[in-house]
């Protein structure tokens, strides 16, 4: 049962244009949503997060949008840079037993073309 899904395995974008990565989830009990970026031979690094009570959070070139009714979130990167080329994972988190558990999607490989 895949609770968090990223249906696009890969995405190519020209440098300077917008990158839009999408993520869907099934469990309406998630309280927080996060995006992580992963380079080869490294662990995932935290990028940006959003609470379920918000619909948008912005941090520099990165903006996350949340549509609770559609159980959908997206990450916008504007403008895209070659250094953004990586695998991006969305994650959903909820609290059980006093600690937060994170469920990850399968990832989208972003390639930004110079």
């Amino acid at each position: 049962d895949q609770q968090v899904k990223q249906n696009s395995p890969s995405l190519s974008v020209q440098e300077g244009r917008i990158s839009i990565l999408n993520c869907d989830y099934t469990n309406s009990m998630f309280d927080y949503f996060l995006w992580y970026k992963k380079y080869p031979a490294e662990g995932p690094t935290f990028l940006i997060s959003i609470s379920s009570i918000k619909d948008k959070n912005e941090d520099g070139r990165f903006t996350v949008f949340l549509n609770k009714s559609a159980k959908h979130l997206s990450l916008h990167i504007v403008p895209s840079q070659p250094g953004d080329s990586a695998v991006y994972f969305c994650a959903a988190s909820g609290s059980t037993s006093g600690t937060y558990k994170y469920i990850f999607g399968t990832g989208t490989r972003l390639k930004v073309l110079a």
Partner: protein, 116 residues
Amino acid sequence: DAGVTQSPTHLIKTRGQQVTLRCSPKSGHDTVSWYQQALGQGPQFIFQYYEEEERQRGNFPDRFSGHQYPNYSSELNVNALLLGDSALYLCASSLAAASPLNSPLHFGNGTRLTVT
């Protein structure tokens, strides 16, 4: 500020053997979670330790077990290794008292386990 450190970096084992992977959390963190990432997949949650107890567990068999020490470091043990256990094993730490907004998971670089 030391981040999450994992050892070893790479490991090759034979089917049926047992393996222990180690993790030291980021300074100030008290909760350790373990994930398995197979090739082309996202990280799959194995279990989480807080206050030296397993707090949450994913859909993994009992062959996967763990431990957390008083200094918050943790071990992942896998018994009776199968070929399908070959994967990148990621350790992540966080602060239990904080929400993911204030203390998101911090990952180590992982241990690449190959079972032959």
